[in-house]
Every structure is written in C-alpha cells, then in structure tokens.
C-alpha cells in the first residue's frame, strides 16, 4: 500500500514537471515531425509506391510514431540524472518507500510521458494521408505504452549508474541513435544485408516499431516489410512478447540497481 502510494507520487511529480515544461513538450515532437515532413515529402516523389497504396510518407509514419515513443522513453532517465545533479534524488532515496517503488514510479512516469508524445504524433496522421480508425487507435495505446515502459526501464537503468549530465548525454548518443536507426523506422527490414539484418534483429526497439507499423498499415502491409526472425514471420503478438520480455529484464535490473545504490 505504501509502495503503491510511493509509485503514484513519483509518477505524479514527473507528470507535473512535464506539464510545466512546455519547451520539452514541443521540442521532443518537433524533431520527429521534421523527419516526417522532410523525408516523407522529399522522398515520396522519387521512391514512388513501396507497396500498393503505401508511399514513403505513409510507410515511415508509424515508424516515426515509434521513434517518438522510443526517444521520449529513452530520455526518461534524464530526470534521474537531473534529480541527482540538483539534489532532489537524495530526498527520494531517503524516503521510507522501497527503492523498487522508486524505480517503478520513474519508469511509469517516463512511459506515460512517452505515450502522451506518441498520441500527439498520431494526431498528425491525416496530414500524411494515413487513416486511423478509432479501433486501431484503441489498440495502439496499450502497444505504445508497453513499448514505452520497456524502453523507459532501460533509460532508468542506465541513469541509475550515471553520475553526470555530460556522461548521460554521451551514453545517449552512442545508444539511442543506433537503436533508432537500426529499428526499421526509415526502411523496410525485409531485404537487408545480412550484417545489418543481425543488428536490426537483436535490437529490441525493432519489435516495438514493427508492432506499431503492423497495426497502422494493417492489410496494406506486404511481405517485403515484414520482420522474419529465424524463418518465422513476427506477428503483433510475437513482437509484443519480445518487447515485454525485454521490458521485464530491464525493469528488474533497474529496480535492483536502485536498491543497491548508495548516495
């Protein structure tokens, strides 16, 4: 009971801060939108149709939604590093709630913010010629939240071991961009050189992006887009199981890492 209240309180504070930080809110969707507009419009003409009824714009739209969720979740850890830098982490770590609750609250806070940013991106769907029936949107919400939670847990785990903002930025550059670029946001993962295919398949973000794309494109999805692992074509459920497994491992590690932390 105490721990539930602890999780809620930590989650609530993250949202309160997010609501107040208009710059961050706008900033973190500007970048993905820029990608959509520039690459979508710039390349759609030359590339023609990737599949019947699917131009490049339409193809990368679900990818960019995924990217927004990934990036926002990834940076969930920033709040931990900030709190350490500004001293507030001490107030949290010395409170009579378990460290497991602290890690869980932080992860859920990051995931919720990522989900909100993902939803904002979905609002732009009509502009890019993507139709999203309410039924699909309803399915997208839990999927995005699962992806966001798994990646947030990873962000929190990293942040729990990083002591400075500078170090955090470096780790983000070295991890976040490769993970996003190699997740199939910008290209179909069906026909890749084998070295790249391996990297894409060991990247947990790939499965998150694939599940979102399968939902958004639905029947328009063709085999060239689909993700094959060990000769098996991944369904949405398969994808989500991989994401969930990854998320559980990350969450357990994050909780453990917070638990053994000394100030």
């Amino acid at each position: 009971m105490n721990n539930l209240r602890g999780i809620y309180t930590i989650w609530y504070r993250d949202l309160l801060r997010f609501r107040r930080d208009k710059v961050r809110m706008v900033g973190s969707i500007t970048f993905p939108l820029l990608f959509l507009v520039v690459f979508g419009s710039g390349l759609s003409g030359t590339m023609g149709m990737l599949a019947p009824g699917v131009n490049f714009s339409k193809f990368i739209f679900p990818g960019i939604v995924g990217m927004t969720v990934l990036m926002t979740s990834f940076t969930a850890g920033v709040s931990v590093v900030w709190d350490r830098e500004f001293g507030f982490l001490k107030e949290v770590l010395v409170a009579p709630i378990s460290r497991v609750a602290v890690a869980a609250g932080k992860t859920l806070g990051g995931a919720t913010i990522a989900l909100i940013q993902g939803i904002v991106m979905l609002l732009f769907a009509p502009i890019f010629g993507v139709s999203l029936p309410p039924g699909i949107v309803l399915k997208l919400l839990p999927v995005m939240f699962l992806v966001a939670s798994a990646l947030s847990a990873m962000g929190i785990l990293l942040a729990s071991r990083i002591k400075s903002m500078e170090a955090h930025q470096v780790v983000m550059q070295f991890l976040m961009f490769p993970m996003i670029f190699l997740s199939g946001v910008f290209f179909p993962v069906g026909n890749l050189p084998s070295w790249m295919s391996v990297l894409v398949k060991i990247n947990p973000a790939t499965y998150g992006v694939d599940s979102i794309r399968q939902l958004v494109l639905g029947p328009q999805l063709t085999t060239s887009f689909s993700l094959n692992v060990l000769g098996h074509t991944m369904s949405i459920v398969d994808d989500l199981m991989v994401v969930a497994a990854f998320g559980v491992v990350m969450a357990v590690l994050a909780m453990w890492s917070f638990n053994i932390q000394e100030y």
């Binding site: 105490n2 209240r5 602890g6 809620y8 309180t9 930590i10 504070r13 309160l16 801060r17 107040r20 930080d21 709190d83 500004f86 001293g87 507030f88 001490k90 107030e91 949290v92 770590l93 010395v94 409170a95 009579p96 709630i97 378990s98 000394e262 100030y263």
Partner: protein
C-alpha cells in the same frame, strides 16, 4: 509508529566506513538521548557527513552498528527513514515545483495520512513563514527561504530525530540567526531530538552536547561548557601605561605568566569575574583597559588538535563563495 523500548534515540557502536584505504569514519561510538540537541563538530573532511549519511541509511557502514529509535540503519531502513527528518548540506528541493507541491510530495512518500495532510502543510508553511509564497516555484526563492522550506519539509512527518547537516552553510548571518530561532523554537514545541553537524563554533554552542571529530575519530565528547573549560579558564586582556612593569608585577605578585599580544597583555585565570575587581584595586601599574573573554569552542578545538577550526571554516566559506560565484557566472 510504535517505539521499541530504548533509552537512547541514537546509538552508535564501533561504526566504521572505509573508502579503499581511507577510513572516513574510524571506530566511532556515541549515543544521543531523546530531546537532546547533539552537535558533531569538526573541520571539513573529518567524517561528519559520512556519519550522517550512515545514520540516515544513505550509506552502508563497513562495520559496526547504528540504531535510530531502536531500529537498525542497515536492516530496518524503512523504519529508520520513517522516524527521521533531514536537512542536507546541499539543497534537495525540486526547484521546478512550488513550495506547496514539494511539501505534498514529501508528505505522501512519508505516509502522512490524507486527512491531516493539508492542515499540517499549512501549519508548517506558516511556521517557516512561507505560506504567502506557497504557490511560487522554489527556483524563485532566496537561499534562506529554501533552507527554511527544507527545514519545514523535514518536520512534516513528525520525525523523532531531525538531522541537520551544515544547515546554515552559505547563508548570511541574518538568515543564519533566523534559521536558528526556528530550530530552537521547534525543539521547544515538538520535543524533536536534533542532530547537527557544523564547523561553526558559535552554532555548536546551541547544542547540549558536542562531539568533536577529527580524521574520522571522535576526540572529545562533552557539553560546550565542559569543552570550553578544557582551555583552562577565562581569557583576560589588559592594556596598561607600562607593559613591561605590568608583566613583571603579574609574575611577582600573582605568579601569572602573560603574553604580549600587540598593544596588550593576555593571560588566563581560573575565575575571571572574581579575579578582576580585586586585581584592579591592588594592581600598582596604571590600567588603561581590561577585558574578559570566555573561552570559545575555537579555543577548545585548538587545544585538542593544535589547529584552528576557524581557519578551516574560513577556507570552506571561501570555497562556498567561489562555488556560488561560479554558479552565478554560469547562469548569466
């Protein structure tokens, strides 16, 4: 929370904390009674903050034992945390939240029942005189206001022990005095045990008992008066028309060795107040000026360690100023 039967609210036995080869806290034992103001005094790096961090469960001891309110700081962390309040050396507020939101966060994570939460937050905010500013973001507060808010926050869950780690570091003398008024008032009203670290001698004087720490060890533990009495007696400064004759007379008539300190003679006597009247009547050299000073904890520290605590305090004060100045430049 129910209290285990114990005489000491804080009990520390053979506590040790090692970092590589260095023992930051080296076989420290002491106890603090309920309702006491207990001061831990020493130069920077003496091990004061490490000791506090162990008592607050933020750091694990290498060996030894520490109990707060009967609860073990290693094995009963949550229970220990529930019965302590903390004001850290460095700020630990969320500057992007309002004063009210900071206190709401705190009272939720410290299990203050929802029914009394509002009332208690208001009471605390009024006490630290920040009620009018409750909806302002903490980043708009001055250093003194932030400290007061932290002090108030540390009390919301009615802790048994309030830890104050250098609570007035970096504050101007006026804010420092006000903060102390609050702290002493609190102790009167709430009966909280206060455990404080400081390197200001005058602040240590507020304590009932003081432990002096140096190089990770406690080298003295007693009341401020008793520690001061280590120095020997009261310090008397004397100015006369003829210092040489006066010095000779002091030695021949009173068997007192005096030192020349610039324009004056300085010497110690066991009981200055009784000494002075008789001395003025009987002394044949003309006296221009005579003054009596009680020995300070500074003098005690000097006597115990052969070093001036004041020098160290000045150094860290300058460091603090440099830090703030650097911070100021960074932001503007």
């Amino acid at each position: 929370m129910e209290k285990k039967p114990n005489r000491h609210i804080i009990l520390v036995e053979h506590l040790q904390k090692k970092y590589a080869d260095l023992a930051a806290v080296d076989d420290v034992s002491f106890s603090v009674d309920e309702g006491e103001v207990f001061g831990l005094l020493g130069p920077n790096g003496a091990g004061k903050t490490t000791t506090i961090n162990i008592l607050c469960t933020l750091s694990r001891p290498t060996s030894g034992k520490a109990l707060i309110n009967g609860f073990d700081v290693v094995h009963e962390q949550s229970r220990v945390r529930q019965c302590i309040g903390l004001v850290f050396q460095d700020p630990s507020l969320d500057e992007r939240l309002t004063a009210l939101e900071n206190l709401e966060f705190h009272s939720r994570v410290y299990n203050v029942p929802a029914s009394v939460r509002k009332e208690r937050i208001e009471q605390i905010l009024r006490m630290v005189e920040l009620w009018e500013r409750r909806h302002d973001l903490v980043k708009t507060f001055s250093g003194g206001m932030k400290r007061r808010l932290e002090l108030g926050r540390g009390l919301i869950h009615y802790p048994k022990v309030l830890f104050l780690d250098e609570p007035t570091l970096g504050l101007d003398p006026q804010s420092r005095n006000r903060l102390w008024e609050f702290i002493l008032d609190l102790r009167r009203k709430e009966g909280v045990t206060i455990f404080l670290t400081t390197h200001y001698m005058d602040e240590a004087g507020y304590a009932n008992r003081i432990a002096i720490m140096d190089y990770g060890k406690i080298i003295a533990l007693d009341s401020p008066e008793r520690l001061k009495s280590l120095v020997g007696g009261d310090v008397i400064s004397l100015r006369t028309t003829d210092d040489e004759t006066a010095q000779a007379e002091l030695l021949s008539r009173y068997q007192i060795e005096s030192k020349r300190d610039g324009e004056q003679l300085v010497f110690e006597v066991p009981n200055g107040e009784e000494f002075i009247p008789a001395f003025i009547k009987g002394f044949s050299t003309d006296i221009l000026n005579i003054s009596l000073r009680r020995p300070t904890l500074d003098d005690a520290f000097l006597k115990l360690t052969g070093r001036q605590l004041r020098d160290e305090a000045v150094k860290s004060e300058m460091k603090e100023m440099a830090r703030r100045y650097g911070h100021y430049r960074m932001r503007h």
